[in-house]
């Protein structure tokens, strides 16, 4: 007898929960994401179909589970929206072929494919990966479908130049001057400030009213939270991982802050840790990936806490801007140990013998 949420349904619900984030992303950064999703879906599906063919399985049945779609969506949300198409496709190729299928396909991969693909690009083409456009409502106009497509087909150095020209307007003039829109350059000694999605918040922002310009990442983070809460409410993901991850990020941030104040190195405010970068995307969508997280509730909590800890550590002391992806992969590599150590206590183990 079998009645339960199918894998397909779980994956579909994750996609549904990602929709708010996708919409906010498009409004803030323009149509680039949509094109990326389009090309990546086609390319990755072809790759996966080929793999299934090689493994003598039905490609249709293999693609039907929608797990590939989730990987593609998370990947596209993680990479800059205007990245040379060949890079984007290279990253997803790495994710699908090596990270997912070389380990045995769905359910067998040790690492989260989307994050691994992202890190692959981050290591291979770091300068291109810093090329984020500054979030603005005007982006939807500037980066209309046609123009976005043109951008994607350019070489990555041209993309950067173009982005500086595009964003050369009154509001964002200062950013351009500091080259902030394109590089993860340290400013105010905050490495995180020029982490891709954290850009605008620290520069002349008018915090009196909430807008995409002033609270770009926070709004995106809220969209992720909304999606995540929806998944928790419908029971498709467990609340344990997001909870422990957020707690861990917050507490580690707090401690690092205290140490930083004492010894005089600059850190990000512990509250802001939660809303910059992709903390919330990670909390609800990346670390909750069932395949690459431990089994038991205790194990999940532990793993989430480890990832949260590393996120803050890497953000503070590391040289790469996006900490979540690295921390997540680091956390994934703990899973076998966690699974082994935190096995559920067998029934009757606490029982008394007469």
């Amino acid at each position: 007898m079998h009645r339960g949420a199918s894998t397909q349904l779980i994956m579909f619900m994750v996609l549904v929960a990602l929709l708010p984030a996708v919409i906010v992303h498009v409004i803030s950064f323009g149509w680039g994401l949509v094109w990326n999703l389009f090309f990546c879906t086609i390319w990755a599906s072809l790759l996966e179909a080929a793999v299934y063919k090689l493994r003598r399985r039905s490609p249709v049945a293999g693609l039907r589970d929608l797990s590939l779609q989730v990987t593609v969506w998370l990947y596209c949300l993680a990479i800059p929206p205007y990245l040379s198409l060949w890079m984007t496709l290279l990253g997803i190729t790495f994710a699908v072929l090596l990270v997912k299928h070389a380990f045995g396909g769905l359910g067998q991969n040790t690492f989260n494919p989307a994050m691994a693909g992202f890190i692959f690009l981050l290591i291979s083409v770091p300068s291109a990966m810093g090329g984020w456009v500054v979030p603005s409502t005007r982006n939807l106009e500037i980066y209309n479908p046609e123009y976005s497509l043109q951008m994607l087909l350019m070489d990555h150095s041209d993309i950067k130049k173009q982005m500086i020209i595009d964003t050369n307007n009154e509001t964002l003039k200062k950013i351009k001057e500091t080259d902030g829109a394109t590089y993860a350059t340290p400013l105010n000694n905050f490495r995180e400030l020029f982490d891709y999605r954290g850009v605008v918040r620290y520069i002349d922002r008018d915090t009196s009213e909430i807008s995409i310009e002033s609270h770009g990442t926070a709004i995106l983070a809220t969209a992720y939270i909304a999606g995540g809460l929806f998944l928790i409410a419908t029971g498709f993901i467990n609340f344990i991982q997001p909870l422990f991850f957020i707690l861990s990020v917050y507490l580690t941030g707090l401690i690092i802050n205290m140490i930083g104040l004492k010894y005089g190195f600059n850190t990000v405010n512990n509250w802001e840790h939660l809303f910059i970068g992709s903390t919330m995307a990670g909390a609800f969508f990346i670390i909750t990936d069932p395949v690459s997280s431990p089994t038991t509730a205790k194990g999940k909590a532990l793993s989430a806490a480890i990832i949260g800890f590393f996120t803050v550590i890497i953000r503070t002391f590391g040289s790469y801007p996006d900490a979540i992806a690295f921390a997540a992969l680091l956390g994934n590599s703990f899973n076998p140990v966690i699974n082994k150590m935190l096995k559920p206590k067998r029934f009757g183990a606490g029982g008394r013998k007469a």
Binding site: T7, R346, F347, G348
Partner: protein
């Protein structure tokens, strides 16, 4: 034992919540209102003699016998066995191997009964005043009535009762019936609540618990009400406790935990914790066995599912075939019939429509296409951990799955595989639609096979050791006997040449002597600790088995041309059984033996001689011609090789002859088994050399 504090909490009605569990759609509504109905007596009943997870008794009826309802068909020979009884009056048509009520569809020994339709009871009398009997007597009575745990596990209720005497503080009567579709227990509680109350009082008398709890899930309010009324009427000290609906609350260990907060580990028994549990259907059967004196020959079965025309709860006789049930109840769609025996969670697909229903099958489901789709293609496990969340044994089923597929026994052990109760919760929630329990059953079957092989290996080693020891012991005795036996052989030559024309009287005398000898021998064997398992396949009464034995022996003979001595021994061991009743087989055996003898006289003279002498007496018991031949042959042989073979013959003879020639089938069977074991041991020995 249970502490005061726990007992107090339990008495106060505290309910604990076990880990995991699911809330499947119950589908009980179609049959929950149905009254229990009798089904017409079928025209054939196939009663498997093994109906529990333990070994079966010995068949004590013969083909062609007329049996009455309630007449035992098997007899208990070892602890753990329970007898089966004739479910109705009729004739024993045959005894043989038929499809068992088991997912594997393997054949098992069964008694086929053609009912005469009169349903005539064997004379029986109940004991309404059960308090006069001692708990032990009552428990034995329950065993003799052949009551297996009717919740599904099928552990013999009598033994369960007996082992719990003096240890039980809390008695639990399990009326949860948590599996979807099942309403048989529900129907019993609604309609037979008085009988069940009596049954509980019998168990109370046996176990003397401090507290008796009747557990009923909240989806059976009428049953709970009926039970409460009966209990009040009988002024019994039984608490009815209504539990929240959750699968598998009705499984033994989760239920004990739910009611008492005691976790009985899977490596210990509930007796050790002062808790004992019986199912309501078993309780009802116990009442009928003790008060009415009726053994367990039928049970209430829920017949349900969208494909059956008339769902309901039917009283089905033990051994009723599925096809009879289907004929009587009717199917809506006769194509691609899929029948599940047992509940939808823990049951199995019937291997064929000739599957008999037994004491433990409480439900038959014929789902329509939409209801319970057959497990189709499934996806990879995504390690979502849902299975772990619902596992009442707190296992990690997906890890068990990967170990099962890899047949990694060590890994399974580390994951506490034996704690799995196969409740099917993991299968139910699996997002990838993986039939986990099915995979577990597969690997269990493999493990069992491996264990069996290991066991038989160990057993043969033990036998070798035993044999060596006995040979030593007998060496001493042998020396003393040699002379006497030589004399005996000589004298028998003269006396036995006459009876070629002898009458029946002589034969009978010979038989009587042989019988006495055999009995003595059998006693000796038992005393000597030779508790060898009887090999039912070679049992003297069963023609099929006998024929098989012959075939086997022949095949072996052909195969092992170089192992002449071994062959001879095999022959000796098997032929006697053959020769005892069946003239054709006997003739064959003799011919075969003769041929053998002629062939191998030159090089194996000594051994043949011995063989001949062992066989002949059996032969000579009944058939004058064959006897004469055998005697003549034996004489010749004897004269030829008396001098050098005396010692060995003597030994073999003493071991085998009397038993072989006997009439008592049990003793004969034992002797045969013994002889076989010996042959095997010798084989092994020789191979070792």
């Amino acid at each position: 034992m249970i502490s005061e504090k726990v007992l107090k909490a339990v008495t106060a009605g505290k309910i604990w919540s076990f880990h995991g569990g699911i809330h499947p759609e119950m589908h009980k509504e179609t049959t929950s209102g149905c009254l229990i109905e009798e089904l017409e007596i079928p025209n054939i009943l196939i009663v498997p003699i093994r109906q529990t997870s333990l070994s079966a008794g010995e068949i004590i009826v013969r083909e062609g016998d007329r049996v009455l309802k309630g007449q035992p068909l098997t007899k208990i020979f070892a602890k753990g066995q329970i007898p089966v009884h004739a479910p109705t009056s009729g004739t024993v048509k045959s005894i043989g191997f038929y499809t068992a009520c088991h997912p594997s569809g393997l054949k098992d020994q069964a008694v086929v009964i053609i009912p005469d339709g009169e349903d005539e009871w064997l004379e029986h009398k109940g004991c309404s005043n059960f308090t006069d009997l001692s708990p032990e007597e009552l428990a034995d009575h329950v065993t003799e009535a052949g009551i297996a745990g009717m919740g599904g596990a099928g552990f013999p209720a009598g033994y369960k009762l007996k082992s719990a005497i003096g240890k039980t503080e809390i008695l639990i009567i399990n009326g949860c019936e948590c599996e979807p579709y099942l309403t048989a227990d529900d129907a019993l509680m609604r309609e037979k609540s008085d009988e069940i109350t009596d049954g509980i009082r019998i168990i109370q008398h046996i176990l003397k618990p401090k507290l008796t709890i009747m557990a009923i899930e909240a989806n059976k309010p009428e049953a709970a009400e009926a039970m409460r009324k009966s209990i009040q009427k009988a002024q019994a000290h039984i608490e009815v406790r209504v539990l929240p609906v959750r699968y598998p609350t009705g499984a033994a260990r989760p239920l004990i935990y739910t009611l008492t907060g005691i976790e009985v580990g899977y490596d210990s028994r509930s007796n050790d914790f002062g808790v004992s549990m019986h199912n309501v259907a078993s309780t009802y059967a116990i009442k009928r066995a003790v008060i009415d004196g009726e053994p367990c020959v039928e049970r209430v079965v829920t017949v349900t599912g969208g494909n059956f025309c008339k769902n309901g709860n039917y009283v089905l006789k033990n051994g009723t075939l599925l096809k009879h049930l289907i004929n009587k109840v009717g199917l809506k769609n006769n194509k691609a019939v899929h029948i599940i025996i047992g509940g939808p969670m823990m049951g199995f697909s019937a291997p064929s429509m000739d599957t008999p229903l037994i004491k433990t099958s409480g439900c038959v489901i014929a789902p329509d296409a939409k209801e319970l789709p057959m497990a189709g293609d499934y996806l990879n496990c995504i390690k979502c951990g849902r299975c772990q969340e619902v596992c009442p044994s707190r296992l990690v089923p997906y890890m068990l799955l990967s170990h099962s597929r890899a047949e990694n026994i060590e890994g399974l052990k580390n994951c506490n595989f034996k704690d799995c109760i196969q409740c099917g919760c993991c299968t139910y929630v699996c997002s990838s639609g993986i039939p986990l329990v099915m995979e577990f059953r597969k690997v269990l079957a493999k493990i069992k096979k491996m264990k069996d092989e290991e066991k038989s290996k160990r057993k043969s080693q033990e036998l070798i050791a035993f044999r060596t020891e006995r040979t030593e012991r007998e060496k001493a005795e042998r020396q003393a006997r040699i002379e006497a036996i030589k004399q005996k052989t000589l004298s028998s030559e003269t006396t036995e040449s006459k009876p070629q024309t002898s009458d029946l009287k002589n034969e009978q005398q010979a038989k009587a002597v042989a019988l006495a000898k055999a009995k003595a021998k059998a006693m000796q064997q038992v005393n000597a600790g030779e508790k060898q398992n009887l090999d039912p396949a070679v049992s003297a009464d069963d023609p099929a088995a006998r024929a098989k034995a012959i075939a086997l022996a022949k095949a072996k003979t052909r195969q092992q041309a170089d192992a002449v001595e071994k062959q001879n021994q095999e022959k000796q061991n098997q032929d006697p059984a053959v020769s005892a009743d069946d003239p054709v087989a006997r003739a064959k055996a003799i011919a075969l033996a003769k041929a053998k003898a002629r062939m191998q006289q030159a090089d194996a003279g000594e051994k043949q001689n011995q063989e001949k002498q062992n066989q002949d007496p059996a032969v000579s018991a009944e058939d004058p011609v064959a006897r004469a031949k055998a005697i003549a042959l034996a004489k010749a042989k004897a004269r030829m090789q008396q001098a050098d073979a005396g010692e060995k013959q003597n030994q073999e003879k003493q071991n085998q002859d009397p038993a072989v020639s006997a009439e008592d089938p049990v003793a004969r069977a034992k002797a045969i088994a013994l002889a076989k074991a010996k042959a095997r041991m010798q084989q092994n020995k020789e191979l070792d050399k």
